[in-house]
């Protein structure tokens, strides 16, 4: 026959026909082409352009209406068949669905967190325009310096890239007029704060420019949660008045349910209502820094442009006010997208967990692919018969993929349920890493992810198993039973899958092991205090009631005396903070640091001054917490405002500044030499910013110089929390309007401070445990299969004189070989991935030998255990029966 060259229209027709299912084309394509050719010839004979056009239109419409119907028909018949097969193999179906559901569930749960926290933009209009501005003193190691009122005014007036710039600081005030006096978390904000974020009030209004003028009548806006929980969603709340800081405040509005950054507050007030922010000291002193600053980019401006703009302003400030910004502190300012800023802390942990979850899913896929392959071996004849009856290869592949998709889809649904169930736990955990945790929920993005995970999963294990069984469809029909060659090739694939599972399990176990080891190390660290039986209570005054410093001092002394006399109290002290206090853990040392100078030590030009954290403590503070005196003396009652200023330092400071000298008697100043404090003693180091945080230099000053009651620290003779009520009563005996909040034992505080590494370790542990179980079951399964396939060969060996113990050894050895191979790859993978965990470890190298060898042994033991049962069965083979059975 003459070779035909296809005309353009024929080529086009063939291309169109490709949208029809393969089997349909196999059956009808030739005929369809024939019909189309005849139709064309007819049109040509009649010679109408519009006729030809009409023919094409009808042809295209015809094909595109037929195709979906044909595909759908195949799909429904495949699904029906697949469901029948699944019911028939209920055991396999259940195991496969459960395994995949665990993998998909873990991924969905972690992804819902990653999606809500890292990927989704902040829930404000044009959220990508929101930026966070920080000042820094780089040479002092201070990355996040607050702003003073003067500085805010400068940035607001001088910037060219922002459409708005607002300030924020958090306060805690006492609110009267609503039951008991109540501490409310208060956000003090610029008048246009909510406007900048694009938040519309639910009730009433937010703040107006006139609210922010000094002396304006004080107003409040309530957060949605506070309004709902404390006022029962009172619709008449707007216009109600409350007393706060000795002034009547009127509620003007209620916020909608929006996430609040950077902290959650009960109420918001404009800057004019904050007694501190409006004090002369804050208004006029450029160095009184307390506020955080947010901005909104002008349309079309990038964050990088804003950063350059802000940086130029800070350079200008340095020139204009050299005293406030000395060269040697490395002053600078930066602007960064708010979203990035809010999620910085959570990123490494979440990415690690996402990787871990992905590993679990890969292991689950490999395992189900293995299960499917084993089942395929049993179904080979069925598939071969269908193939012989005319089902095309792609038709069979399609059938197998449909089956695997149905499995994965069911697993996806179950996984979604698992993820939903674990969300509360995860939200609680992530809440320690980022303020965005409250936004975590399962939305359409997550559902798409789950669907994609299920589809990807089914595709992965479906094609894997289909491809390896396809190769020998015809041979299995010819030879009647599984041929030796096919069996061996399939076993190689299965073994490779097992090796992969072990390798991934090894990596996960290493991750979990390393986290666990650092947790243990952390717990063994000497915190420098004796936290048992110590209770901390935060107290606060009504500022307006204590009009003079003397009145305040007397009240604080009365408070201390009253608490000390309470039965069960061993030692009572007062401080402005305490080790492991949640705020301190979050803020880090820089939140309580300042720079100072040492008498007689001039700085080189450009050299940074020393930096220290600072605490104001009453004399018994060290005794209450069990901090040992190393040299000199502690504070005495006589170290007060009347006597000379004395300070106590810790050993970290001694090591840094006087490594070979005695610091006692040296003098330091933090106000440019106006006042000098003499060092009278050295005390032990305390890891107060978290057990994983090395001690930093610290200066203690007598509490009497500080005019705030702060925290009561009480060492008790009994279980400390049982004394909370009595101690609260004691405080109210002194001043019934004094508020007591956040009562926490130091052991609780210490435990809480480790919550993040603990939960990370637990989650990784769960993932690793899952992986271990799946992989072990996999090894057991494949060894059992191999033994059953080789019964005849083993029978012959035994008949020829092989001892059962050598058969046992042979099978065990094969299982162990897989494990050793997997562990080898796992070691390489774990070493390559050290970067992922490094930042989360504490005093454990990412290639910790103990962890690696421990995990290796665990996996080997698990593999040995899993291969032992099949090995014993192999050793017990009766040669007569084995040979007869063939």
């Amino acid at each position: 026959m003459e070779k035909q060259t296809l005309s353009f229209s024929q080529k086009l027709f063939r291309a169109l026909v490709r949208v029809l299912p393969f089997d349909f084309r196999m059956n009808y394509e030739g005929e369809m082409e024939g019909v189309f050719r005849e139709q064309q010839r007819e049109v040509e004979e009649r010679g109408g352009f519009f006729e030809a056009l009409k023919l094409w239109k009808e042809t295209i419409v015809g094909i595109f209406t037929t195709a979906p119907r044909e595909h759908w028909q195949i799909l429904t018949s495949d699904c029906g068949y697949a469901l029948r097969m699944m019911r028939k193999n209920a055991g396999f179906t259940a195991v496969a669905i459960l395994t995949l559901a665990l993998g998909i569930g873990a991924n969905t749960a972690i992804f819902s967190v990653v999606h809500s926290v890292l990927l989704r933009s902040l829930p404000y209009p044009q959220a990508n325009q929101l930026i966070f501005i920080r000042q820094q003193e780089k040479k002092l190691g201070i990355e996040d310096l607050s702003f003073s009122v003067k500085e805010i005014e400068d940035y607001r007036a001088q910037n060219r890239t922002l459409s708005g710039l607002v300030e924020y600081h958090a306060m805690s005030f006492t609110l009267f007029g609503h039951g008991d006096p109540e501490r409310v978390r208060t956000g003090v904000v610029s008048a246009n704060y909510f406007e900048l974020f694009g938040v519309q009030p639910l009730l009433g209004r937010t703040f107006l420019p006139e609210d922010e003028k000094l002396g304006a009548p004080p107003v409040l806006v309530l957060s949605y949660e506070y309004w709902k929980n404390d006022f029962g969603s009172d619709p008449e709340i707007v216009g109600k008045t409350f007393e706060m800081n000795d002034k009547v405040h009127t509620v003007v509005g209620v916020l909608p349910q929006v996430p609040q950054y950077p902290n959650e507050n009960d109420v918001y007030m404009p800057t004019s209502a904050c007694p501190f922010r409006t004090s002369k000291m804050h208004l006029e002193n450029r160095d009184m820094r307390m506020m955080e600053v947010f901005g909104r980019l002008k349309p079309g401006v990038t964050a990088a442009q804003a950063n350059a703009d802000i940086s130029t302003i800070s350079e200008g400030l340095k020139t204009a006010y050299p005293k406030s910004y000395p060269e040697n502190v490395g002053f600078a300012s930066v602007a960064a997208p708010l979203q990035e800023e809010l999620t910085r802390g959570a990123r490494p942990t979440l990415l690690l967990l996402l990787a871990a979850a992905a590993f679990v899913l890969l292991i689950a896929c490999a395992n189900v692919a293995n299960l499917t392959l084993s089942r395929m071996a049993k179904r080979e004849r069925e598939l071969a018969v269908r193939s012989a009856l005319g089902a095309g290869r792609s038709r069979l592949l399609r059938q197998l993929l449909t089956e695997s998709f149905l499995l994965a889809f069911a697993a996806g649904l179950l996984g979604l349920v698992l993820a939903y169930g674990s969300l509360e736990l995860l939200t609680d955990f992530v809440g320690r890493l980022t303020p965005r945790a409250r936004e975590i929920h399962i939305d359409s993005g997550v559902l798409w992810f789950t669907l994609a995970a299920a589809l990807g999963t089914s595709f992965l294990f479906g094609t894997l198993s289909a491809l390896f069984s396809r190769a020998n469809l015809t041979s299995s029909l010819k030879e009647g039973s599984t041929s030796a060659g096919t069996g061996r090739r399939q076993n190689r694939v299965r073994s490779a899958l097992i090796v992969c599972q072990i390798a991934f399990s090894f990596m996960l176990l290493i991750g979990a092991g390393l986290m666990l080891r650092s947790l243990v190390k952390m717990q063994q660290v000497d915190a420098g205090i004796v936290p048992q039986r110590v209770l901390a209570l935060r107290t606060s005054f009504i500022w307006s009631k204590y009009t003079s410093d003397d009145k305040t001092r007397v009240a604080i002394q009365q408070l201390l005396d009253r608490v000390q006399s309470e039965p069960g109290v061993l030692v009572a002290a007062i401080s402005n903070r305490y080790p492991f206090e949640p705020e301190i853990i979050t803020g880090g040392p820089e939140s309580v640091s300042f720079s100072f100078q040492v008498e007689g030590r001039a700085l080189e030009p450009g050299q940074a001054p020393p930096v220290s954290t600072f605490a104001a403590v009453s004399p018994d503070y060290f005794k209450a917490l069990g901090i040992p005196l190393k040299d000199g003396r502690l504070f005495a009652e006589t170290d007060n405002e009347k006597g000379p200023l004395v300070v106590v330092i810790n050993e970290a400071m001694k090591r840094q500044l006087w490594p070979n000298e005695n610091p006692i008697g040296k003098r330091i100043s933090n106000d440019g030499g106006e006042h000098w404090g003499t060092i009278v003693g050295t005390v032990g180091d305390v890891r107060e910013f978290g057990l994983d945080h090395p001690p930093v230099p610290e200066i203690y000053a007598p509490q009497k110089l500080n005019l705030s009651p702060g925290v009561l620290i009480v060492r008790t003779a009994v279980e400390p929390r049982s004394m909370a009520k009595a101690l609260t009563r004691a405080v109210h005996d002194v001043d019934s309007q004094m508020a007591v909040s956040r009562i926490l034992s130091l052991e609780q505080a210490r435990y809480e401070s480790m919550a993040s590494p603990r939960v990370t370790a637990s989650l990784l542990g769960i993932f690793a445990g899952l992986a271990l179980v799946i992989a072990t079951a996999g090894i057991g399964g494949i060894m059992a299969l191999m033994v059953s396939q080789r019964v005849r060969e083993i029978g012959i060996r035994i008949a020829l004189g092989a001892r059962p113990s050598s058969i046992l050894q042979m099978v065990l050895g094969q299982g162990m070989l897989l494990a050793v191979l997997g562990i080898g790859i796992g070691i390489a993978g774990a070493v390559a991935l050290t970067g992922l965990v490094k930042s989360l470890l504490f005093e454990v190298p990412p290639t910790d030998v103990l962890t690696f060898s421990g995990v290796g042994m665990t996996l080997l033991a698990a593999a040995a255990l899993a291969s032992y049962l099949p090995a014993r069965r192999a050793a017990a083979v009766d040669p007569n029966e084995a040979l007869r059975a063939e």
């Binding site: 026959m1 009808y28 005929e31 019909v35 139709q39 015809g62 209406t65 119907r69």
Partner: protein, 128 residues
Amino acid sequence: MDPRGERVTKKRETESFLPLTPAMFHILLALADGEKHGYAILKEVARRTEDKVRLSAGTLYGNLARLESAGLIAESSRRPELVLDDERRRYYLLTEFGREVAVAEAERMEEALGQARAKKLFRKPKLA
């Protein structure tokens, strides 16, 4: 076996196909007077309906596939006359069951037509 029961099942089976799509009905009609290949069916339907029902290659074979798998038509064993065409054409014939379905469809339409007549639907509209 109860012959009445069998008849009822058969009737029910036939009725499950009703109403037929116009394309299907016309394909069955085209095969009523003998077997034909695809293009002949297409031509005959177009001729008989004066081009009101036009089948394209896609719709024709989509319908043939469905009619065939439902057992309403079958492939004939008759082979093409090689002289006339070098294309491997397949011929289709109407099965007994297909004929029953086509008859049932025609009866259904007849009944509907009768009802329309009874309601005097075909009365000429009055001109205003």
